[in-house]
Amino acid sequence: MTEPVPASPVPIEALKDKGPDKPPRSKWRDVWEQFRKHKGAMVGGAFLLFITLGVLVGPWLWTLDPQALDIRAKDMRPIYTAIWNSEADVGWAHPLGSDQLGRDNLAQLIAGGRASMAVGWAAMLLSLIIGAGIGVVAGYFRKLDGPLMRLTDLFLSLPILPLLLVAVTLFRQPLRANFGPEGGMFILIVTVVGITSWMPTARIVRGDILALKEREFVLAARSIGTRPFQIIKRHLLPNVLSPIMVSATLGLATAIITESALSFLGVGFPSDFPTWGKMLADAVARMEDFPERVMLPGIAISLTVLGVNYLGDGLRDALDPRIRGR
């Protein structure tokens, strides 16, 4: 006769789980809470959101055509000038004034922001994809490491502005024929900025991957037969997300600045297509009389870039599990 075995064994008291007293927290919620603690990142993110929404929705709220000339209303000052200078030529028709040909500054700022932001985001995404891809592959597959890193060195030694000038000369015509003058130039600038700014991302990611792939959890994953692609997707990429995010924000800033520099040099978009860089360049000669024409796009560029940098800083802190919660 044997003693009946109880249907479920009684757990040993000391090893008993106390049961979750709080509902489970998702990773992204942790990230968000950590992110919220970073004031700079919150302000930066909010500003970026504001600018992005502003340039997207702006044309419906402020319906003036940024390219329309009104020579009778030229050289108007922003409305706030009236506070200290009652004789200034101001009017609610042009709240931020107008330029030397009577184009509305506010409408130009909105349209210019659209171009600059679009270039920034697109170029950033492109360089992110190339950079992260090359970094991961070079770090994980030993055989490809050498060639890919030498390729990175090669690209690092390319000066971007001369390269862009050559690219503009070579590819403008076919791109213009297929996508129109503005679309073609957009593709050209995005591509060139993208393919010349992925290298820092690739190097950082490769370094992190090299260290990560020797860790025990990767060994464990490999020992149960996980394929390399799955290891990269499941175990490596989430761990290098924070450096990628930081590069991404820096990349956005670089792309906006590069586009501005190109417009400043007059090789970017057609001369009547407003971008922040072009507005800035056009206004330099009249800086003394109309400081707002330099200040407005200049501040817009600086604040956007600053906002993006702070956002990246906060994201890095929030995404890094080792920093999170401290």
Binding site: Q67, L69, D75, T169, Q173, G266, V267, P270, D272, D289
Partner: protein, 568 residues
């Protein structure tokens, strides 16, 4: 200030000045700033205006052009003409007589051998002389005595004042440059930086691309001149900084060629230290119409060549409509202010050659629309752009990168939009656009666009070679490495025949008539060239500097010997 008042002022001042017992060097130092820095002191090895003008303080030609374009003797006793027998009846020989008693700054006498040497120097085969064009047609030069120079041409020269006339062709000292002929020219650094001259000043120290220090020439032919003992000639910076240095801070006395928007210049002039001065030459900002098809669908080597006429602009009515839509007065106001005048002429000056063509000055949008309708361009689908046979009236409009030009582009695009023409703008970096590189698709010679805008002028006072640019066959094309001056690919037998006639005509009145006719054929009759603005030269001088007479026909420093200090 109006040009006239300025000149009257200068004239009055120059009358008064000698009365105050002028003496050489009594007025101390004068500071001149050129925002392009001179790199050499002889015009023969550099085509740059900056170098030609810096050299004109030291080196002098036999004669110069004054501010009206008239010829004034400098080293010559008088200007040779057919009337005084200096130029032969068949226009193949010119005889110059030097003034007596002229000395180089080192004390040796100036002789006809120096003049002959100058020609040999520039015409030496391997010398790479930048002013070689001035000596075109020179067959031989004789020096019967120490003061006489006879230049023989190989064919009749209606304008025999190429050699030894104007700032581009001054006289060099034979003794100094004897060993610098031909390939050795550019190796003679000492001579090229410190030439011995007959001008009012001599070089003390020459720092290439930076500063030139000069002092009064002790052997200058007028014992009372120059009034300044020393000159500091600073080069470099940009037009804006140079304008500030004269107009606002007063650090410099004279600034050259201030290409700034009128409102910018006006606000600087409020600084009260100096005055901008302007004078008009032959520089005309114009829109050039491409008479050949620049379509990228054509194979390379056939784009923009005479093999394919332009699908839209070959029609004279379209070209005329485009011109009628432009308000030139407004362009002047926006871009040049007192430094520009609206014009319909390719040759706006001198008086003798300027046609009385003014009909383009009034903008006529309605007339332009009517003309386009008449030419068969109508807006059938209501999108604001006219079509004909399924093709849109859409043009690519290119120019160089320059703030004023981009403003012009925006304004003209707007006017053309109003008459139903769609315009795409493009601006190209100036060094590429004017660079002439046959490998680049963006040069103004290649003209891979429908219309383009730039400015051009001619040297001296005779427009013959300028008008000859538009001869058949002189267009840029692949077989000539895209070099050539007939930018529009204009071709008209009647025009060419008249050019030949101009080259044979010596009588000035007759030449003027033919030149006017040629000008009209290019502008108001065919609208191949659409002139916009006659651009003046703007320079600025300090309020304490007197005697400045701005001259667009010769070096701006042509009368530096007459400059003096106004005591406050």
């Amino acid at each position: 200030m109006k040009l006239k008042t300025l000149m009257l002022g200068a004239a009055a001042a120059s009358v008064l000045a000698p009365a105050v017992q002028a003496e050489r060097g009594e007025d101390g130092n004068v500071n001149i700033i050129y925002w392009q820095a001179p790199s050499i002191m002889t015009p023969y090895l550099s085509g740059g205006t900056k170098d030609i003008e810096a050299a004109s303080l030291v080196l002098e030609p036999l004669g110069r052009y004054d501010e009206t374009g008239a010829l004034v003797p400098y080293l010559a006793a008088e200007i040779p003409t057919v009337e005084n027998g200096g130029v032969s009846e068949d226009l193949t020989q010119i005889t110059w007589k030097l003034k007596e008693g002229l000395l180089w700054s080192d004390g040796s006498p100036v002789t006809s051998a120096d003049v002959k040497f100058t020609a040999d120097y520039c015409m030496a085969p391997e010398g790479g002389c930048a002013q070689f064009a001035k000596f075109t047609g020179v067959e031989s030069i004789e020096t019967p005595d120490d003061l006489t120079v006879v230049v023989n041409f190989d064919k009749p020269m209606p304008n025999p004042y190429g050699p030894f006339m104007g700032g581009q062709s001054p006289i060099l000292q034979k003794a100094q440059f004897e060993d610098c002929v031909g390939a050795a020219a550019s190796t003679c650094t000492e001579a090229n930086f410190n030439p011995i001259g007959t001008g009012p000043f001599v070089v003390d120290e020459f720092k290439p691309n930076d500063v030139i220090s000069l002092s009064a020439n002790p052997n200058y032919r007028d014992p009372e001149k120059p009034a300044f003992a020393t000159v500091t000639f600073k080069g470099g910076g940009d037009a804006e900084a140079a304008a500030r240095a004269v107009l606002q801070t007063g650090e410099y006395d004279y600034a050259w060629n201030l290409q700034l928007a009128p409102d910018v210049l006006a606000s600087m002039a409020e600084g009260g230290e100096g005055t901008p001065v302007s004078a008009f030459g032959t520089l005309v900002e114009r829109i050039e119409m491409n008479l050949t098809d620049p379509s990228p669908d054509l194979p390379e080597g056939e784009r923009s060549t005479v093999a394919h006429p332009h699908p839209i602009l070959s029609d004279e009515k379209v070209r005329r409509a485009l011109s009628m839509a432009i308000d030139r007065e407004l362009l002047v106001e926006v871009g040049y202010g007192q430094a520009g005048r609206a014009t319909c002429n390719l040759v706006p000056a001198p008086e003798l050659y300027a046609s009385d063509n003014t009909e383009c000055l009034t903008q006529d949008l309605e007339g332009a629309k009517a003309l386009l309708e008449e030419a068969g361009w109508t807006d059938t689908d209501g999108d604001g752009v006219r079509e004909k046979d399924g093709e849109k009236l859409s043009l690519l409009y290119q120019t160089s990168t320059n703030a004023v030009r981009q403003d012009f582009q925006a304004l003209i695009k707007d006017w053309w939009r109003q008459i139903g023409v769609e315009t795409e703008l493009r601006n190209v970096d100036s060094s590429v656009f004017f660079g002439g590189d046959p490998g680049s698709p963006d040069t103004f010679q290649k003209f891979y666009a429908d219309v383009e805008m730039y400015a051009n002028n001619f040297d001296g006072t005779d427009p013959q070679s300028y008008l000859s640019m538009y001869r058949c066959g002189n267009e840029p094309k692949p077989s000539s490495q895209w070099q050539g001056e007939n930018i529009n690919r204009f071709c008209n037998e009647e025009y060419d025949a008249m050019l030949d006639e101009l080259a044979k005509t010596g009588e000035l009145e007759k030449r003027g008539e033919i030149a006017k006719k040629l000008n009209d054929m290019l502008t108001k009759e065919s609208m191949t060239i659409v002139p916009l603005v006659d651009r003046g030269r703007v320079s600025a001088h300090s309020n304490t500097l007197g005697g400045v007479v701005l001259n667009t026909w010769d070096s701006e420093l042509w009368n530096a010997a007459d400059w003096y200090r106004i005591d406050e």
